[in-house]
């Protein structure tokens, strides 16, 4: 079949399939699961079959009239990496979900939104028009909300609220950027913007800021990361895996496209990205060490890893002609993070399936005898730490080289500090993963682990094994992946290749340096300070809970104040006119009803003076009078005067007539 048509079908199959599966699911849940697995599997194979087409050149298709601008889809190698991994992960997680969700309610609803998120995510990666991209982005944002609050308890609703507000505001900020972009460039075609962007002057920074902030919310970039550590623990494990593995990447994809493909990157924007990336990286890693909930540790870890990627994107901007290495590192790390973070969240999900508990204070020592789980988790952890032989090692080294290149080119104290942060953050990574791994899988504890007898079958474990195998494969055969990335780099007009002997002494040394530093942090900080108790009776404390929180101590108070003030002002607009009219009418009324005492007095005086005989009637004048009453009386009197004049006039006319005709 024509690859262009297939491109549309990649989105259409899950789009139609999501509704079909919903209808099937009302009748028969088992058939629905089979259908979903088949559908995602089929989609995965279709996408895989496109590989050679994409390797030979770009596939694109334009369908006019949809949404006024038309639907413009494009698939080059850079997008293909995202699309292929997304479809693979979705396929595996669908298999995993059928096992995981057994104890959950509302499964049908879950699958509907799960699949909606799927096709909209594919749409984001495929669309070559910013309007299309934004459309899919918003559909994805909204359809992942029901996944987050699936438990429908107070915590998940709280997390969902934060997520929804941030997702909607992020979308609107992004939209503002698109408004301005379209106004100044008159095009929304991602490939064309590059040629006009240099002519629009300083408004470029406003546009870039808005667009990157919009995508940054999804990417968990500091200070827009607030939803991330809340939403991940709240949702069911497959959904958190999706959030962390794929949804964060949509934000990254957006930033990457904005900065590099649309050509926004210059020294200021890139430097901002680097600074924010370093903060994200450091803060995520640092806070992850304090957490006790497995998923929250993993969530902060995702944030920290996003920091690496954002730094990579920033480095691409400042390295100019040497940016190849930064690009390779960035894309490589994106691929790796998609794989290992999904694996780790799946492992956390297995633990939750068994225990319905995620705090390491309650599940210590759970995994000591579970070999498959232990091995999978170990592989995933090693991959993030960047242990040689695992995939994270390659990408971290590439990024480190890119950073070293920048230090070499520009020097300066700030980049040295950056390099330091890079090493320290890697050490943090090691530290929090050691904490997690040792607490759950190694150390004995007296925790009362109530084993819910739920058999974890192959449907949950096989996807994890596949991902673990991929980690090892990519780690040991960097050239295989690099060849794909070389092709992907053509979208960025980069054609030079780099030396790919990753397993040399220097790289391994720098990797081991940060790992041993991390081990030291683990031994001397986490075990000494955060861990309490002794022997088998131990628990961890989270001292970070009482620290300054960006959300509770800054954002919420500011917005509350703004909200209160605007409430008062706008309430005034609402009822101001009515109040004013009521006020005036009340004033008039009370003015008219004001008793006219002087009148009464004078009247009394008058009647007493003139009407001496009628002294007894004096009191009849003693009632209070007011203008209304007087006006009534006056009107009555006026009426009689009018009548008399009228009668007088009639008589006069009659007389006249009589006189005339007599």
């Amino acid at each position: 079949m024509n690859p262009q048509i297939i491109l549309v079908f990649i989105i259409l199959i899950p789009l139609i399939g999501s509704f079909i599966s919903f209808i099937i699911g009302i009748k028969d849940e088992k058939a629905r699961s089979v259908f979903n697995i088949t559908m995602t599997g089929a989609n995965f194979f279709i996408i895989t079959s496109l590989y050679f087409n994409v390797m030979n050149g770009t596939v694109d298709i334009f369908i006019p009239n949809i949404m006024g601008t038309g639907l413009f889809l494009k698939l080059d190698m850079f997008r293909y990496i995202f699309v292929w991994l997304t479809s693979l992960i979705w396929f595996l997680i669908t298999i995993y979900s059928t096992q995981y969700l057994l104890s959950y309610k509302n499964r049908n609803r879950y699958y509907l939104f799960f699949m909606t998120t799927y096709w909209s995510t594919l749409g984001i990666f495929l669309s070559n028009n910013l309007i299309n991209l934004f459309t899919f982005f918003e559909i994805m944002s909204l359809s992942s909300y029901p996944l987050i609050i699936h438990d429908e308890d107070k915590y998940s609703h709280d997390a969902g609220k934060t997520y929804l507000i941030m997702a909607v505001s992020g979308g609107l900020v992004l939209l503002m950027g698109l408004f301005l972009l379209y106004d100044f460039t008159q095009t929304l075609d991602i490939d064309k913007i590059k040629y006009v962007i240099q002519d629009i002057g300083n408004i470029k920074y406003a546009i870039a800021g808005l667009i990157i902030a919009g995508f940054g919310v999804k990417a968990g970039m500091y200070p827009l990361h607030l939803w991330l550590p809340k939403a991940h623990p709240a949702s069911p494990a497959p959904a958190s895996a999706i959030l962390s593995g794929v949804l964060l990447k949509t934000g990254i994809f957006g930033i990457l496209v904005t900065s590099e493909i649309m050509g926004f990157s210059d020294i200021y924007i890139s430097n901002t990205l680097i600074v924010l990336g370093f903060i994200t990286m450091f803060l995520g890693g640092f806070l992850a060490m304090y957490q006790r909930n497995i998923k929250r540790i993993l969530a902060y870890s995702s944030m920290s890893q996003m920091g690496y990627i954002i730094v990579g994107i920033g480095l691409m901007g400042i390295l100019h002609e040497h940016k190849a290495i930064a690009l390779y590192g960035t894309i490589y790390h994106i691929i790796n993070h998609m794989i290992f973070k999904v694996l780790l969240f799946m492992s956390a999900g297995v633990i939750y399936m068994k225990l319905h508990e995620l705090s390491i204070n309650g599940i210590g020592g759970f995994g000591r005898k579970r070999k498959t789980l232990k091995i999978c988790f170990f592989i995933g952890s090693c991959a993030i730490m960047g242990v040689p032989g695992f995939n994270g090692f390659i990408s971290k080294n590439l990024l480190h080289h890119a950073l070293a290149e920048a230090v070499h080119l520009y020097g300066g104290i700030w980049l040295y500090i950056g390099e330091l942060i890079f090493v320290i953050s890697s050490a943090f990574t090691t530290a929090y993963l050691l904490k997690l791994f040792i607490a759950v899988f190694v150390e004995k504890s007296d925790h009362d682990i109530e084993n819910i007898k739920m058999k974890v079958t192959g449907r949950a474990l096989i996807p994890m094994t596949i991902l673990a195998a991929m980690i090892i494969f990519i780690g040991l055969n960097p050239n295989f992946t690099m060849n794909i990335i070389y092709k992907a780099a053509e979208s960025f007009y980069i054609y030079d290749k780099i030396d790919t002997h990753f397993y040399n002494l220097e790289n391994i040394k720098s990797s081991l340096l940060s790992i041993s530093l991390g081990t030291l942090i683990y031994v001397f900080f986490i075990r000494r300070v955060l861990k309490k108790g002794s022997g088998e009776n131990w628990w961890y404390e989270n001292t970070a809970l009482n620290w300054f929180s960006l959300e509770n101590d800054l954002f919420i108070p500011i917005f509350t104040v703004i909200f209160k003030i605007s409430s008062v002002v706008l309430k005034f607009c609402d009822v101001g006119l009515l109040k004013l009219i009521t006020l005036i009418s009340n004033c008039m009324n009370s003015l008219l009803k004001m008793p006219l005492y002087y009148k009464r007095k004078s009247k009394a005086l008058f009647s007493r003076k003139v009407n001496i005989i009628n002294d007894i009637n004096d009191y009849t004048f003693e009632y209070p009078t007011d203008i209304t009453y007087e006006a009534k009386k006056a009107r009555y009197k006026m009426n009689s005067i009018t009548y008399s004049i009228y009668i007088f006039g009639v008589v006069l006319v009659l007389c006249l007539v009589v006189l005339l005709y007599s």
């Binding site: 949404m67 609703h157 609107l172 379209y182 706008l570 607009c573 609402d574």
Partner: protein, 483 residues
Amino acid sequence: MNNIILLPIIFPFLAAIIIAVCNFTEKRRNIFAGSIIFLNLIFVSYIVANFNGISMHVIKMNEFLDIYFKVDKLSVFFSLLVSVLWLFTSIYAMEYMKHEGKEKRFFAYFILTLGVTLGIAFAGNLITLYLFYELLTLTTFPLVIHSGSKEALKSGMKYLIYSFTGATVALLGMLILFSLTNNLTFVPGGVINANLLDNKTLYFIIYVSMFIGFGVKAALVPFHSWLPAAMVAPTPVSSLLHAVAVVKSGIFAITRVTFYIFGANAVRFTGANKYLIILVIISILMGSFLALHQENLKKRLAYSTISQLGYILLGILLLNKNAFIGAMMHLLNHAVIKITLFFCVGAIMYTTGKTKISEINGIGKSMNITMFCFTISSISLIGIPPTNGFISKWLLAEGSLVEGKIGFPVILLLSALLTAMYLFPISIAAFFTKDESNVLEKKKAPIKMLIPIVCITVITVFLGLFPNFVLDFLRAMASEIMN
């Protein structure tokens, strides 16, 4: 053949009299009313398709008192919108009005109002428009006070006072204008010519008085408070008042005055738009903001209407093509979206008797189709693609950016955020919140209510995905009135 233009206006009048006079059984009356409205839709489409551009003087006493009808692009647009939505509302009302009672009176005035609204749509000069505009107030008044309760009567009084005052102010502007131009016929591009230079202040006063006068019906702050008060009316009425007939007649009149009497350049020359835009901005922000505070679902939607009408007025006042297309597009979009939202809320009231947001937890389980349509429409009202609200928001923003005003898109987006904040909680409460008290009856909305709801939701999504045929029509209209 020019007389045919009177048909869709006269026909409902006659039908209304028949309903009022004859004693139909319920079923027959429903069929009769439905077929009348459907027939009228056919008349309108027939006229629109075959007699575009015809005109007719019904009575011409002098230049001023001249009852004159004409079919042009704007009337085509408005009359089709009105006729289609009236049909859906009538299907909905057949079921809904069962629990309100006094259906005979309701349907008589309901159909009468259709004729009057079409009269507004086909009016060829300002005095005809004004006459039908006043008639509209009178025919909708019995609908507003339908329940006859004390609150309803009070709101009805408020509605009358506001509407008549507004119309009087507009009439004042009209009279002064006539004394200057001697011509109040609607001509694309305006009837005012070069003599504007001499009387800038006078024209300024005329435009402002007409804008504010007609703006009362378009719920312009601070003359909006009749609209939330009129919420006591039965749901089909409030949905029509809000979505189509009354408020949109106000907008329609303002469009006529701005582009067919004054013309964009003349308005720009008077500078009135700069001052009026402040009121519009306040409307947008105040409506969305105060909607957040409303517990009653219908009230929430009422305040939302105020803000959405602000969008349209903003588009008109920006006086350029993009903004005008955006405004007209939003007129259409807001009509279909808001009517669905009201229908859904009405369906909830009808089936469960709940009117507050705190009472509808978990209602999405039983009334899933209703709440699904509600959610789609909310998303559309916020302006999230791929629904139609996004298209109009995009055009309005582009229109303001063409004028070099970056502040307006920001306000539009701020209001969109507020819209999300007052609409999403309803959907969340309905679908994702457990119903602890279990007091909700597990009932579905009746099919006669669901049909209009689903149909209009389909239109909403369809307009979002394929807006081009409407956009092309509006572009043609825009280039006709602005060169």
